[in-house]
Amino acid sequence: MRKLLLFGIVLLFAGFGLTAAGQAESVQQDEPVVIRIQGYGGQDPAIVVRLLNEVIGADLEKDNIKLVYEPIEGDYNAGLYNSLSAGTAGDILYVPVETAPGIIATGQIQPLNGLIDTTPFIDSLIEAYTINGDIFGIPKDFNTLVLYYNMDLFDEAGVEYPTDNETWSSLARKAEAISALGSDMYGIAFQPSYDRFGAFTFGAGWTPFDSQGKTNLMDPAFVSTFTWYTDLIKSGAAVMPSDLGQGWTGGAFATEQVGMALEGAWMIGFLNNDAPNIPFESALLPAADDGTKGNFLYTVAYGINRQTENLDAAVKVLAALTSEKAQQFILEEGLAIPSRKSLADNPYFKNDSREARANKAVFVGSSTGNVLGYQFGNVGTDWMTPINTAIVTVAAGEVSVQEALQAAQREIDEMMK
């Protein structure tokens, strides 16, 4: 029996030894400092590799820093919380704007005051990561909403293209004209969801949290925006993407049954791939009838893990990743929209291409009117669920605006107790 046990243990160790031999890195004296970045999966790993190879790699090598990017596939926020509590989180972390307050509240993110100069970055972006005067992240890039339109449909309906000075009423008129083209044609695709609709409420002067930190859905500004939004859907001038068998307004736009859609710069890559010949252009979001625009800021920042053993090196990497030349590279390759103010004058934005024009509109959107981060306090994204439900039920004609909003208000109050 003992022999068997011994045999088993030897076998086990031999197995470890074999795999270990394959994977162990050679240990040397002047080993570089390894900085681990934990971030989104998808395209980001490839973008970081290109940044390293083509822009910042040589500088980091001089400082004897090795950068390792560790993507989290699937639910990033769940993955981040797990690794923070297991103590396996990277030295530099992506901090998404929608969950930033909650993540920062755990105390695991290093304040960057005094470590990095934050003045070159767009103010509204830095603001989304500022809590009680401490800055917890440097936004790596961002998106806002712009109005995309299909020029073919406007030509066909004989309507003027949307401009940067559109208002809600003029938008509604244009949408109605487009929907008059046919029974299966619609002026604009509206997602029945706060993550698009919210931008209009900001234009009307509403804020998600008042001075006491409470959410008030019965505010006249919110109610009127809500009524306008749902009325457009009910009248058939606007359509929910699901009614066209699509999951999002971009998909609806690609069917060419919809004249306009509100999305960010992520729409461009999708259209180039799925509907490359749609003649689309973009404009700034329409303003409320008093001329005020509103918009969401969707962004993600680099934050530094408070537990990191290599703070100096991490700061150097963070500075390199958000440096002017890194951001310029990202912009000129059309990969993302940079967070530095000075890049507003970059020649890329003056390119004569619809991509450049749409990116420019996204960039300008970040500083036009009431622009707020895509944030919901410590509650997180659950906060908007009652509002989304209200939009769907009212648009389907199941309940009145008043009833739906009262129900949503009750749910949100319950959540924020």
């Binding site: 031999a21 790993p45 993507p71 596939e73 890559g269 010949n277």
Partner: protein, 471 residues
């Protein structure tokens, strides 16, 4: 003897025959229904994985990619462009022609369509990050030629069919092999698209633009366009390795390693529990069985921490700080179906050994065989059916395992197993609405298990019966 002349007997026989047929009918209808329910999703996903737009609505089983006539056309185009009949693409010093047919009701309104080779990045996702080679920078298009004009009846409309042809030229020189040659043809609204050398990938702008992803694809490049993308577009930018191949290899390694470990440990444990009487034997067996009912979600945190610290620091002896992000971690670590040795497999082996006659072992002992000899040379060969069942069930479980590898393997990107890789595809391509590549990746990842199932069906059923009956 039945009296067939008797009308009563005949009626009875007819009744019985009718009832028999009715029963057969019911059984077959049920069969067909089950087949429809279980097989049609599979069928549709396989067919959809070939389509340019797998989300097309209403869904159809007829797709141009599966039409042999198009294969011939695609092969000819690939050959003429210089890339070859099978894999296609354009090489310098070649030219090929491409035609499109339109219907027009009133020939007076005829206007020539516009042909352009657009500067377009191939695909979304990873390909969008890479630096592409644009076909537009290398290829030239000849003047448009009208090659045919004849009366044509479209549904009930009478009019004319017109064919236009262009010649695409890749001048001599040291240009690269163009893996993708897109083409857009813009026509006026009077022209209605009928057909072209290869069917259009999509019609856009309310039918005015016929858009082609690749007009020199070769047979494989046309029919297996999505499948090819799985290999072409998924290189790791840091190591240059093909990710899909790497993931496939990882999955295979994990699955085989787990099969070997399960075979070794489950058979030994099963044998010991079946044959030896020692103190605490029933308690041990009870624990083995009880461990089956604990969901792996309960134990994964502690298992994760054990791996993180390198199994209480033991692996540090070999210079490995942590087993996270190693395949060894996936193999050693999990609970439940992801365990190095699974309690259900021990149970199968125990039941099987109990069903074998004791006399064989006694004979072996009398002949002078020791415990090991008896086990390895006498009992194990007799347990082949159970070993087969364990092999297959373990392989299938390990191949499809998602939760545990997802937790252990995060970086670098080529360390993942296939199911995690498919998730990655979903994230990177699904976000751009590009489902073709994801579906074809998923179909390919299902192939080994399907093959295994078809070949070893017998053992699957046996595996179930070993688990279910007391020997």
């Amino acid at each position: 003897m039945t009296d067939l002349q008797n009308p009563d007997t005949r009626a009875e026989l007819n009744f019985l025959a009718r009832r028999r047929w009715a029963r057969v009918g019911v059984v077959y209808v049920l069969y067909l229904l089950f087949m429809l329910v279980f097989l049609s999703p599979l069928l549709f996903s396989v067919v959809s994985s070939f389509k340019t737009n797998p989300l097309d609505y209403p869904p159809t089983l007829k797709t141009p990619q599966l039409n042999p006539l198009n294969w011939i056309a695609a092969g000819k185009l690939g050959k003429a462009a210089g890339g070859g009949v099978w894999t296609g693409g354009a090489e310098p010093g070649n030219e090929f022609t491409f035609s499109i047919n339109y219907f027009i009701e009133d020939i007076e309104n005829l206007q020539e369509p516009e042909f352009t080779i657009p500067r377009r990045k191939p695909g979304a996702g990873l390909a969008a990050v890479k630096v592409p080679t644009y076909a537009a920078d290398h290829l030239g298009i000849s003047e448009i030629e009208e090659t045919r004009r004849e009366p044509y009846l479209l549904e009930s409309l009478s009019g004319t069919a017109v064919e236009y042809t262009i010649t695409v030229t890749y001048p001599e020189g040291d240009g690269p092999l163009l893996e993708r040659v897109p083409l857009d043809i813009l026509a006026s609204t009077e022209l209605i698209y009928l057909s072209s050398t290869l069917p259009a990938s999509r019609l856009e702008r309310r039918g005015r633009v016929a858009s082609f992803d690749h007009i020199a694809p070769g047979v494989v490049g046309f029919a297996f366009y999505n499948y090819r993308r799985v290999f072409d577009e998924t290189e790791s930018l840091s190591t240059g390795r093909n990710l899909f191949v790497a993931w496939f290899g990882n999955s295979l390694f994990v699955a085989i390693a787990r099969v070997v470990l399960n075979l070794a440990f489950a058979s030994m444990a099963g044998y010991a529990l079946a044959r030896y009487s020692f103190k605490g034997r029933y308690l041990l067996f009870f624990i083995v069985i009880a461990s089956q009912v604990i969901p792996s979600q309960v134990t994964f945190i502690s298992n994760y921490l054990v791996l993180r610290d390198g199994v209480f620091g033991i692996t540090r002896l070999f210079g490995v700080k942590s087993l996270l992000n190693t395949l060894a971690g996936v193999i050693v670590g999990g609970a439940g179906a992801s365990a190095m040795v699974e309690s259900a497999k021990v149970f199968i082996m125990k039941q099987f050994f109990e069903s074998l006659p004791k006399e064989t072992e006694e004979a072996a002992f009398i002949d002078g065989a020791g415990h090991f000899r008896t086990f390895f040379s006498v009992m194990l060969p007799m347990a082949r059916p159970a070993l087969g069942a364990v092999t297959i069930l373990t392989f299938q479980g390990a191949w499809n395992d998602f939760f545990w590898p997802m937790i252990v393997l995060t970086s670098p990107e080529d360390i993942r197993t296939l199911p995690i890789g498919i998730l990655y595809f979903r994230q990177i391509y699904g976000a751009a609405g590009d489902w073709g590549l994801i579906l074809s990746g998923a179909v390919m990842s299902a192939v080994p298990v399907v093959v295994l199932y078809v070949v070893f069906q017998k053992y699957f059923l046996q595996g179930l019966s070993f688990g279910g009956t007391k020997g």
